[in-house]
C-alpha cells in the first residue's frame, strides 16, 4: 500500500470513528468507503465487518460500540502502515 493509499484509509477511518462516537448516520457510508479504500489489508477486513454491522442494526448501542472498536483497530493498522510497521 502506498503512503497515499494509507493516508486515504487513515482519513476515512478517523472520520468514521468520530461519526460513530457522535452517533451520526454518516458513519455507515464512511465505513463503507473506508472498507473499499483498505480492501486487501487487515484494516479492510475490520472496516468491512464494521460497515456490515452498522448497516444491519444501526440503532443498537452494543452494535455501535462494537463497530467503533473495529473502526479504531483499523485506524491503528492504517496508522502503522503509514508509519512503516504494518501488522
Amino acid at each position: 500500500m502506498s503512503t497515499a493509499d494509507g493516508l486515504r484509509v487513515v482519513t476515512l477511518a478517523a472520520q468514521a470513528e468520530m461519526a460513530l462516537v457522535r452517533r451520526d448516520q454518516v458513519a455507515g457510508p464512511l465505513l463503507a468507503q473506508a472498507a473499499r479504500a483498505a480492501d486487501g489489508t487487515p484494516a479492510g477486513r475490520l472496516l468491512r465487518e464494521a460497515s456490515a454491522m452498522v448497516r444491519g442494526a444501526p440503532e443498537r448501542e452494543a452494535v455501535r460500540q462494537a463497530a467503533l472498536s473495529l473502526c479504531r483497530m483499523a485506524l491503528q493498522d492504517a496508522h502503522a502502515q503509514v508509519l512503516g510497521a504494518a501488522s
Binding site: 456490515a52 454491522m53 462494537a66 483497530m73
Partner: protein
C-alpha cells in the same frame, strides 16, 4: 467461552444479527497482536464504573469478566461522571470502593472529585476506604487544571501518596500551558495524562519531558502520539466502557512495532510503569 465480546454482551450482538463467530475471531486476533513478555502482569490504568450521565455504563462484574477474557490481571477503576446533588462524588466513590472490596486484587480503586466541591474531605474519606489515586476530569467538571482548587487537590493527592489521572482528550482548551502551570506549583505530582494527551499532545509532551513523574495512558490514544513518547512514560489503559480491551491491546501492539519497543519496554507499558507510579515497585 465468555459471554462478553468487544466489551459487549455477545447475546445482544447476536440478536442484532452480528456474526458473533467472526467478531470473536477478530477479538482473539487483537488480543494476540501484542507480544506479551513471559510472566508480564497486564494492568489497565483507566476504567469507569457506574452509569455516566451520557448513558455509558459498566458494572464491576462486567469489568472483571472483560479482564478475564483479555487476560488482564487488574484495572484501575474510578466513578463515571455521576455526581450526586451539588456535584459531590461521595456515593459514586463509595460504590467503587465496594467494588474493589468485592473483587480483591482485580480492581484498584481511584476516587473522583470536583476540585471545587469539598475535594480534600472527599479524598481523605476515600483514602481511609482504600482508594489508591485520584481521577480528575477538567471538561466534565468544568475547571482549569491550573486553577487554585485543582492545584490544591493535586497537592493533597501528592501528600496522600496518590497519582492523579487527568482527562487529557477531547476538549477545546490548550492543555500544555495549563499543565505547565499546575506542575510548576506541584512539581512532585505523579500525573497520568489520559488518552495519550491527544487533546494537545505536542505541547503536553514538551511539558512532560521536564517532569519525570508524568506519564501518558494509551486509552483511545492516537498511534502517532504514542509512538513518539519514551516507553517508560506510557501506561496501558482501555477507557472502559468507552473503549474495549481488544482495541486497547491492539493499539499497544501496533505502537510497539512502530516505535520498536523491546521486551523490557513492553513489560513496563503493559503494567510495570503503572505499578511503579502506584508505589508498588514495578511488581508487574
Amino acid at each position: 467461552m465468555s459471554g462478553r465480546l468487544l466489551g459487549q454482551d455477545a447475546a445482544v450482538l447476536g440478536a442484532a444479527g452480528v456474526e458473533v463467530g467472526t467478531l470473536r475471531d477478530i477479538e482473539q486476533w487483537a488480543f494476540r497482536s501484542v507480544s506479551r513478555p513471559a510472566g508480564a502482569r497486564v494492568v489497565d490504568a483507566h476504567c469507569h464504573l457506574g452509569v455516566d450521565r451520557d448513558g455509558h455504563a459498566l458494572s464491576a462484574d462486567d469489568l472483571v469478566a472483560d479482564l478475564d477474557a483479555a487476560g488482564i490481571a487488574a484495572a484501575v477503576a474510578f466513578p463515571a461522571d455521576e455526581p450526586g446533588p451539588g456535584g459531590d462524588f461521595s456515593q459514586a466513590n463509595q460504590r467503587v470502593l465496594d467494588a474493589a472490596a468485592a473483587h480483591a486484587d482485580r480492581i484498584i480503586p481511584f476516587c473522583r472529585v470536583d476540585p471545587a466541591v469539598g475535594a480534600e474531605r472527599a479524598m481523605d474519606r476515600a483514602h481511609a476506604g482504600g482508594a489508591r489515586g485520584l481521577k480528575l476530569h477538567p471538561v466534565a467538571q468544568r475547571f482549569a487544571p491550573e486553577s487554585d482548587a485543582c492545584v490544591h487537590a493535586v497537592r493533597h493527592a501528592a501528600d496522600l501518596g496518590w497519582p492523579v489521572l487527568f482527562h487529557a482528550g477531547f476538549g477545546a482548551r490548550p492543555l500544555g500551558p495549563a499543565f505547565a502551570a499546575l506542575l510548576e506549583q506541584v512539581p512532585t505530582a505523579r500525573v497520568i495524562l489520559a488518552h495519550g494527551g491527544r487533546g494537545d499532545h505536542r505541547s503536553l509532551a514538551a511539558v512532560a519531558a521536564r517532569y519525570p513523574h508524568v506519564v501518558f495512558d494509551t486509552s483511545i490514544a492516537a498511534l502517532p502520539d504514542l509512538a513518539t513518547i519514551p516507553p517508560e512514560r506510557v501506561v496501558f489503559g482501555s477507557d472502559r466502557p468507552y473503549g474495549d480491551h481488544a482495541q486497547a491491546l491492539h493499539l499497544v501492539g501496533a505502537a510497539a512495532r512502530v516505535a520498536g519497543w523491546d521486551e523490557v519496554a513492553l513489560r513496563g507499558v503493559l503494567g510495570g510503569n503503572l505499578m511503579r507510579l502506584l508505589g508498588d515497585g514495578g511488581a508487574a
